[in-house]
């Protein structure tokens, strides 16, 4: 009779209890896995930001435009490697409730500033030549079933077309992918010139500038230079790193995110406490038996290992099953959530953390009973047990 068999027998003596305990752990880790993945997807914009990329927006707010002249002025500054500009189009395809991320950009410089955007050279040339052309992210193209050469009407909830209406016709010239799996390709870009010629108002304004510096160490210097150059003009600027900009934007969604995660983690730990309590009690019930094992000549360290092994095993069975279920859940929800949360991937760090919590649960619940078993005096145990 080896130890593993004994552990197995001990665990399954009350199958119902074992099932309920594992189930509670399962639920706890299901929620943990799903919610942490959700959170990391929300934060992923920050992690993916390039070190040397800066955003230049109007000091008043990033929704207030800047004059196009700034594009040339910034391009001429020292330390600036590439610069491009973009306008938010407020686009949607057929259904106004389903917003699309559509931007009017300066095509060539845009591709230089965002090396993450990978396009087939032939498609790239076609797009650069075609003023009505649209470059669509792979994810978006898949979502709507668009192919190269398709003519699609995209509407704006901000701008009007000078021919009337709010709809522009575009031709899909290229479909881009990201250089990593995490890069969000759920957006599309088109020529600023086409936008400028066909809109009824908005003039020669751009939404914001994006630039790369020669080196990340120059970031601060370049940002300061830009803001100083335009200080006291009608359009003052606010330059920040892409990272800081995304972070600020995510924080706009606000403390409600923080509150939710706080609540969920509290719940996660409470369930663990509740379950841990049950597991610890289950071992305490067996004081008499442990005394018998000791009488039979089982060494104390061996019993210690067996008791600890049992709780670790329970924690891992329930926890890993829960994590697996969370993974399935996320894979299932991926398609539906792709528009809001592009980077819904359960990363290795999340799994590692979860396994860490499982081990902790097993240790904390098993350690005290195991110690008690280790130090158990056979005579007192038999007296107390009353068996």
């Amino acid at each position: 009779m080896n130890d593993l068999y004994l552990i197995y027998k001990n665990m399954t003596r009350k199958p119902l209890r074992l099932f309920l305990t594992c189930f509670a752990i399962f639920i706890a880790f299901l929620i943990y896995g799903a919610v942490t993945t959700l959170k990391s997807a929300m934060d992923s914009g920050i992690d993916l930001a390039a070190d040397n990329r800066l955003m230049v927006v109007n000091r008043i707010n990033f929704t207030v435009p800047l004059p196009i002249a700034y594009f040339r002025k910034v391009a001429a500054m020292d330390g600036v490697k590439n610069v491009t500009h973009a306008n938010w189009f407020g686009g949607y395809y057929q259904d106004p409730k389903k917003q699309l991320v559509v931007m009017a950009v300066d095509p060539e410089s845009y591709l230089r500033v965002y090396p993450e955007v990978v396009v087939d050279p032939q498609q790239k040339q076609a797009w650069l030549r075609d003023r009505q052309g649209m470059l669509v992210g792979e994810k978006l193209a898949k979502l709507y079933g668009w192919k190269i050469g398709d003519k699609i009407p995209v509407s704006s909830n901000i701008f009007s077309h000078k021919d009337g209406g709010h709809t522009w016709d575009f031709v899909i010239d290229g479909i881009f992918t990201g250089n990593t799996e995490q890069y969000d390709t759920g957006y599309m870009v088109f020529h600023y010139k086409y936008f400028q010629e066909t809109q009824t108002f908005g003039g020669d304004n751009i939404g914001w500038l994006v630039l790369t510096t020669e080196d990340p160490s120059l970031n601060e210097q370049v940002a300061k230079k830009i803001d100083e150059t335009f200080a006291n003009s009608a359009f003052e600027t606010d330059t920040s790193t892409e990272k800081a900009f995304s972070k600020a934007f995510i924080e706009q969604v606000g403390n409600i995110g923080l509150i939710i995660f706080g609540v969920v983690f509290m719940a996660f730990f409470t369930i663990l406490v509740v379950v841990g309590n049950t597991m610890a009690l289950a071992v305490r019930e067996r004081t008499g038996e442990i005394a018998v094992l000791k009488t039979l000549g089982f060494s104390s360290p061996r019993i210690f290992k067996m008791v600890l092994g049992e709780s670790l095993l329970i924690a891992l069975i329930g926890g890993l099953a829960g994590l697996g279920a969370a993974h399935l859940l996320i894979e299932g929800a991926k398609a539906a959530m792709a528009q809001f949360l592009p980077n819904l991937v359960m990363g290795g760090d999340i799994v590692a953390q979860a396994v860490g919590f499982m081990l902790l649960l097993g240790l904390v619940t098993g350690l005290l009973p195991a110690f008690n078993a280790l130090r158990l005096n056979i005579v007192t145990a038999f007296n107390r047990g009353g068996a």
């Binding site: 207030v64 406490v273 049950t278």
Partner: protein, 395 residues
């Protein structure tokens, strides 16, 4: 019949008085039920608070006109000429100064959020005294209103709560313009309190808007009756405007955090399953613990049913205790909690978590369900276990 009730009462009291003996298991069950209830309430209170903030802003008496296709105030543009044309349309209420029409501007400025210390979007609304009169419930809580034609603004109470640097008397800088905060206003807790208000003409000139506006609000002759106004707009091709009541506009915007309520329900349902497993464990242990006791009672002539009820009652008491604890905790931590998030117009909406009585009812129901289910199966076992077997079993 009377004896059955007294039997049940006796068993129930006995069970409850023996709870301290199973202190840890009982506490675990209370805790499990408390957590589930607290989570459900937290999510519902958030969604409820946001919805109240949005929907109470909209009035049936006011119609909102935006450029067609503009889903939010921020995206709309309306020219001065269009405003003049709208003033002559039928269906608009008049007072001594003529038709009650308020052309408004809506621009976004940055403020520093107290909670994170980072910049966040605040709407700066340009309007005039007519616009303020149109919103029936505006109250100046501090200072005075802005003087038309000057760089003065008044600040909503919500902005004061969530953002730094807008105290009455202070100066704020947006771009190269400096504004003086001369007063604070309340609109009864709705979304307008998340805004800054200033003179529309001043904003037009500072933000290069020429003579254009963004939205037009008009007071309707008959609340909710858009018919005459709509007909007037349809008849004039120069008016490419969408018209809706302000109430309809804000109700649709208030639906935005509905997903929170759904998310909350899903999470608390899954959590409830986990808690149920914990609670069932507790009750099975409790029944096993008292197997002899129950057998003794039944041997003495107590009915199976009374043993059954006694166990259910025990589970219910524990779950309700947990429910109360959870509700109290949720109320303490979340009721009135200030929060802010991005609203439909890309700006911060400041709102408060709202724990309304019907939410407590939902929490109580959830606790009762947990109590009942976790009591039922163990109680069934306790009542069914043959007396002989129970006596033979050693604990």
């Amino acid at each position: 019949m009377g004896s059955l009730i007294s039997q049940i009462a006796t068993v129930t009291v006995m069970n409850i008085r023996s709870l301290p003996r199973r202190l840890w298991m009982s506490l675990a069950m209370v805790l499990a039920s408390a957590v589930v209830v607290a989570i459900l309430l937290a999510f519902l209170a958030m969604a409820k608070g946001f919805e109240t903030t949005m929907s109470s802003a909209g009035s049936d008496r006011v119609a909102m006109l935006m450029r067609e296709g503009a889903a939010a105030e921020l995206n709309s543009v309306v020219t001065r000429d269009q405003v003049n044309l709208v003033e002559d349309l039928p269906g608009i209420a008049s007072d001594k100064d003529g038709p009650v029409v308020s052309p408004e501007l809506y621009v976004i400025v940055d403020g520093i959020k107290k909670s994170t210390g980072t910049e966040a979007n605040i709407p700066l609304r340009g309007l005039d005294s007519r616009g303020m009169a149109l919103r029936g419930n505006v109250q100046l809580t501090r200072g005075r209103s802005f003087t038309p034609g000057t760089n003065e603004l008044i600040v909503g109470e919500g902005v004061l709560r969530e953002f730094d640097g807008f105290d009455v008397g202070s100066e704020v800088r947006f771009g190269k313009n400096t504004w003086r905060v001369v007063g604070a206003f309340s609109t009864g807790g709705n979304v307008f309190e998340s805004e800054l208000w200033a003179d529309a003409k001043v904003i037009q000139s500072h933000y290069n808007r020429g003579s254009s506006f963004q939205t037009i609000r008009v007071q309707l002759q008959k609340p909710g009756d858009l018919q005459p106004l709509q007909q007037g707009i349809d008849a004039d091709p120069r008016l490419n405007l969408d018209v809706q009541t302000e109430k309809a506009y804000f109700t649709s915007q208030g639906k935005q955090l509905q997903y929170m309520a759904i998310f909350g329900r899903v999470i608390s349902f899954i959590m409830a399953l986990g808690a149920l497993a914990g609670a069932l464990n507790t009750m099975y242990t409790s029944v096993a613990d008292r197997a002899r006791e129950i057998a003794t009672l039944r041997a003495l002539g107590f009915s199976n049913f009374s043993a059954f009820c006694g166990t259910i009652a025990e589970a219910l008491v524990l779950a309700i205790a947990g429910g109360l604890l959870g509700s109290a905790a949720a109320f303490l931590f979340f009721d009135g909690l200030n929060a802010s998030t991005l609203g439909g117009s890309f700006t911060q909406v400041v709102f408060r978590f709202e724990m309304s009585p019907e939410l407590f009812v939902q929490g109580a129901m959830l606790a009762l369900v947990i109590g009942f289910v976790s009591g039922f199966f163990p109680a069934w076992r306790a009542a069914r276990l043959p007396v002989i077997v129970a006596f033979r079993q050693t604990t």
